[in-house]
Each structure stands twice: as structure tokens, then as C-alpha cells.
Amino acid sequence: MAETLKITDLHVAVEGKPILRGVNLTINRGETHALMGPNGSGKSTLGFAVMGHPGYEITSGSISLNGEEIAEWDATQRSRAGIFMAFQRPMAIPGVKLADFLRHATTNVRNPERREGAELIPMRQFRKELTEKMEHLRMDTEFARRYVNDGFSGGEMKRAEILQMAMLRPKFAILDETDSGLDVDAVKLASESIAEIGGDQMGILIITHHDKLLERNAPDFTHVMLGGRIVETGGIELATELYTEGYDRIRAAYPEAAEAEQEMVGKEVEAV
């Protein structure tokens, strides 16, 4: 039976302001989806809502995993169920070594029933696997001794996110602008890595403005988000069109969503 992450008529508010206004999206395990759209259209909000950020309030609609409703679950439960998000701006955790953090995380995700304080996966086994993955990603193993995202460059953060994904082996992964802040070679390496980690094993949602990450992770579907809704879905040719032509055609074709976009962006400006 195909495993499925299904988002139905999802409405999400942040600090009382509506951002998502009825998103529908179904991702089967093994599929790659691209999510594009202008800044402020709600792409990252969708990622945070699916991952279970407490600040993103689901006002109506549903998120289900293999038919089970998960909208009430916290991030811990969702992570252990196999959902992963590579963050656009991951948080620094000063004083905590990447390796220690990852050993804890890997243990929990692989043993979803693990209780607090129970044994972690054996150090030797963990180190071996971590070293292999890091070599694969062409990362210096010394990197694992650094504190999580503390003083990392933009590129280092993104690679650390991909390393975490490689270790946690999620069923569904959301990559939130994993290509931003990376130079051309790094994007290439990142895309190769995602493919090698087992793109065909995961259901992937790639949030991006560029087509580079999509070159080696050709999307089965491309979705365009505008004003808090997915307004159009197509194949890879849609991604290429948006990348080269921009969103004018989309805005013209969906005036209602474009209006919502104006409203949202306007609100953001007010807030700043």
C-alpha cells in the first residue's frame, strides 16, 4: 500500500493572521513535488504547519499520514512518524555538538517508542554510520564536533540539514529553500545528495525559487502557491516556466489569489 501524506483544505493562521487559505496537496512516498511561488505566498508556512510548529495554528482542514489525522500531534510525534523538514534558517544550539544531537535524534526517530533516558544507539555503530554519510556528502568529519548551526555559514547549515535527513531517513521530507545561500557547486552537490539519500524512497516537497535543485530531482509535480493556496499544478515544464518567466501569468489567471497575496504582503509590511 502506498504511504501518503495528505493535506486537505488546510487553513493556517500565524498570530491570528490567516496565511494558508485552503491548501490541498497529496504526496505519495516515492514522489517528488516542487512548490514554487512568490515571497510571502505561504510556502514556508505550509512546511511549518506540516512539521507541527506550535506558532502555526491550524484553523481548519486536515493533515493526515496514511489515513491517520496528525494535525493534533506535536513535532516530536510527527518526526518519529517519519516527517522531516530541512529548515531555511535552522536554529543554532550553542554548546551542543552536532554528533551528540544527531545520535539522540537518530535514536528517537528509529525507535519511536523510546522513553526519555533510555539507551542511545551504540556509539560505535552511530559513528560508523555518521562517518560514512559525511564522507558521502563530502563533509569533513571534524564538522560533527562543532556546535549545532553555531557560527555555520549558510552553506554549512544547509549541508548539516541534508546530513540530518540522511541519518534520520524520513518517509516524507520538506526542503525549505535548501538551495538558497548555496553556490552553484554546492547546489549541485546538495541535489546529488538528495537523490542518493534515496529520493525514490521518500515523498519530497521541494520549496524553491530556482530550478537548480530540480535538475537532479526532477519533480513529478510542480505546484504554484499564491495568496495562501495552491492555484496550479503541472509537471516539470511548469517549474521551468516560473523560473524563467516569473509569476505574472499566474497572477493574471488567478485574480482572487493575487488579491489575497496583496493583502498578505501588505500586512507583512505593516508588521515590519
Binding site: S79, P94, H104
Partner: protein, 468 residues
């Protein structure tokens, strides 16, 4: 009064530090404080006249001084405390001589691990007296003296008397005066010129009798070019009535010498921990205090370094963890008395469940102490809205040509950090615990391995059940 340690409890490990071993006291001074009791303590210890007089004079000073009006609220009935308790007639010389009951206590504290490694170097204080301790042979051969302070009064009076009470005189503060009157136990260390001890000397001790004050007295003399690292660890059982711990620690580091003094204290929630620690550092020497304070009802402790001659350096690294019903008023003092002296203070505090942590620090530069540098960093982490953190930095500079830096930060565990870690499968409690352990990492990495492990475990225990 003693609870049965074998009583099953579902909390298991949490209560590892919470038990009482029945005391079979050989001698217990009367409860209360007066000249007769002080004289009796001195007599029981067969002390020379000068020490008895020192104690009696100190008692008068204690009685004449008012309670400090700053820091925390001190509610102690000084007449309701036992000031002296001696658990065994003779001090143990080998492990075999140590009474089984005391070994059991060590077992419960998990001391054997450290014991195996440093068997010969361990000094352990059980109740008021050092009952076990043997000096590693090669240290003895190098002329190092490492004994309890009572023994030093009898066996090394000439060197002890030269420094005892000179760094922290009884007139310094009310609690230093109290300690001077009723002190018992503590370590005495002398490291001769040029001798470098390459493993930490350790002392474990704990309070184990209800309402008993603990007043150990430590004196460390590091002679020219010598080096020592002294470690004291401390875990106390829990009681329901007030208990007082008031130690005095004096350190002298002579020219080109180095001394590091590491303390990890985890007091029961009812204990007043009022400690005076001070070092004098001479030409080009280095004094380091590493101080971890957990538990207690109120801790007031400000390790100090007086830099007496050019090139002296003082470093103080401290951490305070306060929870419900606890107030940690901790900090540091650095006093630059000579040119080109340098100091560094790093202070970290964590407050949770309504706990209060205060940083209280003094940086003083005396007139003529040119070219001094001082750097102070204090970071506070507050885990919930009921908890509190304050910073009281005092800076007194009487010299123009100096460089003083002070940075302070207060942070709360951020929702974004928690979410990030939870999105990787950690529970909220595990995520908080990890953020806290990262926060104190700069201190942990300075600790010897077994203390680092114990400290991390203690922090985990403190964090358990703190959220969700």
C-alpha cells in the same frame, strides 16, 4: 530521624542522592554556640593554645557582626545547630580501615569509580572529620603535604600558622568568623617549589546528620613554580529542617605558580551554603576557580582572586542552577592590586520552576595598577516565567590605564530552538535539557572527566519533569 535507605522508590535514580546513613557518632558537641562549646571543640581536637584562642576570638567577632543585609534572606537559629560531630576515633589510613557504613555511603554516591582511579589521592569528609584519606606515595616523596586541616594543625604547625586566617581573617565577614570559631576538617595542601602535580587532588564530602553545620576549612599553598588542581565534589542528602554549610577556603599562589580549584556542589534544598573563598596570586602566577552550584536553599558564594604582584592572573568560571525554593546568589571578585594583571570571569546561571539566580560580581582596580585587563561575561538562562535572574556587577576602578569589559545576557529557551530539536524526534523535555547542557558546556569541558559526567547527570536530573 534516619529514613531507611532500602525503601523502594519508584523514582530510582532521582533519589540516588537523597538518603541518610545512620550515624553512630563517637562524639557530638552540645547543640548551640557559646565559648564553652568552642573551647570544648578545641579540647576534643587536642589543639594548641593559639588555635583555641583564635577560635574564641573569632566567636567574639562573629557575635559582634550583624547579619549581612544584602544577598539572600538568611533565617538561621545559630543555637539550634550542632557544631561538631566526630564519626570515628581514628582517621582511616587505608581503604580497609574505613568503616563499612561510610563505604556504603560512598557506594550510594557512586564514588568508587573515582575512588578506583585516584584511590591514593582521595580525601573524603564524612560528617565533620576526614575519616579516610591516604596520600599517594610519590607525592609524599616530592614533599607535597596533603592532609586534613586538623592533622595539619598538629603536624605542620609552622607552615600552617604562617598562612591560616591571613587570606580571610575572621574579621572579614560574619560567616568567616563563624567558621573560624567552629571549623572542622577541610583539606590542607602544600606544594613545594617547582613541583607539578599532574592529576587532580580530590575531596568528596557530605553532610550526614540532621541540623548539623559543616564548617570545613581549607588552606592551599602553592609555592614558586608549583602547580596543583584541587577538586571538591559534594552531594548532600535531603532533610526537612534547616542546615548550614559555611566553609572558608584560603589559597596562596606564589610566583609562577598555578592553582585550579574545582567545586561541584549539589546541596539539599534546605541548606544554607554560605562560603568564603579567596586566593592571593603573586608574580606571574595563575589562580583559577571553577565553581558549580546546584541545589541548596540559599547559596552566597563569590570566589575571589587578589592579584598582588605584576603579571598575576585570575580566572573564575561559575555556574548556578536554581529551582523551586532555591536562591543562588553567586558570582566572583577580582581585585587588581598590581600592574599588568589580568582577570576573566565567566558566569552562567539557569533558573527554573520559580528558582532565582543572581550574579553578584566585583571588579576592582587599585590606584597604580596600570595595564590591567579584565573581562566579565555573565549569561543567564531562564526556563519559565516564574523564575528570576538578576545581575549585580560592581566595578571600582581607580586607575586610568586599564581595559575593562563587561557583557551580560539574559535569555529564555526559545520556542524556535525547542521546535527545531523536537522536529528531530526529541521530546520537549529532552530538547530543554539539551539546550541547558549546551549552555553550560563551556564550564563542563573544564571539568575532569568523571566530574563532567556527574555534572551532566545532575543537570539531567534537575531537568527531568521540568516541562510538559
Amino acid at each position: 530521624m534516619a529514613t531507611d535507605v532500602t525503601e523502594e522508590n519508584a523514582l530510582g535514580e532521582i533519589n540516588k542522592y537523597d538518603f541518610v546513613t545512620p550515624s553512630h557518632d563517637v562524639f557530638k558537641a552540645e547543640k548551640g554556640l557559646n565559648a564553652d562549646i568552642v573551647a570544648q571543640i578545641s579540647e576534643m581536637k587536642r589543639e594548641p593554645d593559639w588555635m583555641r584562642d583564635f577560635r574564641l576570638d573569632s566567636l567574639k567577632i562573629f557575635e559582634s557582626k550583624p547579619m549581612p543585609k544584602w544577598g539572600g534572606n538568611i533565617a538561621i537559629n545559630f543555637q539550634d545547630i550542632y557544631y561538631y560531630l566526630k564519626p570515628a576515633n581514628e582517621q582511616g589510613r587505608t581503604w580497609d580501615d574505613v568503616p563499612q557504613e561510610i563505604k556504603d555511603t560512598f557506594d550510594k554516591l557512586g564514588i568508587p569509580e573515582a575512588e578506583k582511579k585516584y584511590l591514593a589521592g582521595v580525601k573524603a569528609q564524612f560528617e565533620s572529620e576526614v575519616v579516610y584519606g591516604s596520600l599517594q606515595e610519590d607525592l609524599g616523596n616530592q614533599g607535597v603535604l596533603f592532609t586534613d586541616t586538623d592533622t595539619a594543625v598538629r603536624e605542620h604547625p609552622e607552615i600552617l600558622r604562617e598562612y591560616f586566617g591571613k587570606i580571610i581573617p575572621p574579621t572579614d565577614n560574619k560567616f568567616a568568623a563563624l567558621n573560624s570559631a567552629v571549623w572542622s576538617g577541610g583539606s590542607f595542601i602544600y606544594v613545594p617549589p617547582g613541583v607539578k602535580i599532574d592529576f587532580p587532588l580530590q575531596a568528596y564530602f557530605r553532610i550526614n546528620a540532621e541540623q548539623m553545620g559543616q564548617f570545613e576549612r581549607t588552606l592551599i599553598i602553592v609555592d614558586e613554580g608549583a602547580e596543583v588542581h584541587y577538586v571538591e565534589g559534594c552531594t548532600a542528602p535531603m532533610y526537612t529542617t534547616e542546615s548550614l554549610h559555611s566553609a572558608v577556603v584560603e589559597v596562596i599562589v606564589k610566583k609562577n605558580g598555578r592553582c585550579r580549584y574545582t567545586t561541584i556542589q549539589n546541596w539539599a534544598n534546605n541548606i544554607y551554603n554560605l562560603v568564603t573563598k579567596r586566593a592571593m596570586a603573586y608574580e606571574n602566577s595563575l589562580m583559577e576557580w571553577i565553581d558549580g552550584n546546584l541545589g541548596s536553599h540559599l547559596t552566597m558564594k563569590y570566589p575571589a582572586v587578589y592579584m598582588m604582584e605584576p603579571g598575576a592572573r585570575g580566572e573564575i568560571l561559575s555556574i548556578a542552577f536554581s529551582s523551586k525554593g532555591q536562591h543562588q546568589d553567586a558570582g566572583a571578585k577580582v581585585v587588581h592590586c598590581a600592574p599588568n594583571t589580568k582577570s576573566r570571569i565567566i558566569s552562567k546561571s539557569i533558573s527554573k520552576n520559580g528558582g532565582r539566580s543572581s550574579y553578584r560580581g566585583l571588579c576592582k582596580v587599585e590606584d597604580g595598577a596600570t595595564g590591567c585587563k579584565s573581562n566579565v561575561v555573565c549569561d543567564a538562562l531562564i526556563l519559565d516565567p516564574d523564575s528570576r535572574s538578576d545581575t549585580y556587577p560592581y566595578i571600582e576602578v581607580e586607575e586610568q590605564d586599564v581595559q575593562i569589559e563587561h557583557e551580560a545576557s539574559v535569555s529564555r529557551i526559545g520556542e524556535e530552538q525547542l521546535f527545531y530539536l523536537m522536529s528531530r524526534g526529541l521530546t520537549e523535555a529532552e530538547a530543554s535539557s539539551m539546550i541547558v547542557s549546551g549552555f553550560i558546556e563551556p564550564l563542563i569541558k573544564e571539568l575532569p572527566m568523571e566530574y563532567a559526567v556527574e555534572m551532566n547527570r545532575l543537570i539531567e536530573l534537575q531537568m527531568e519533569g521540568s516541562v510538559g
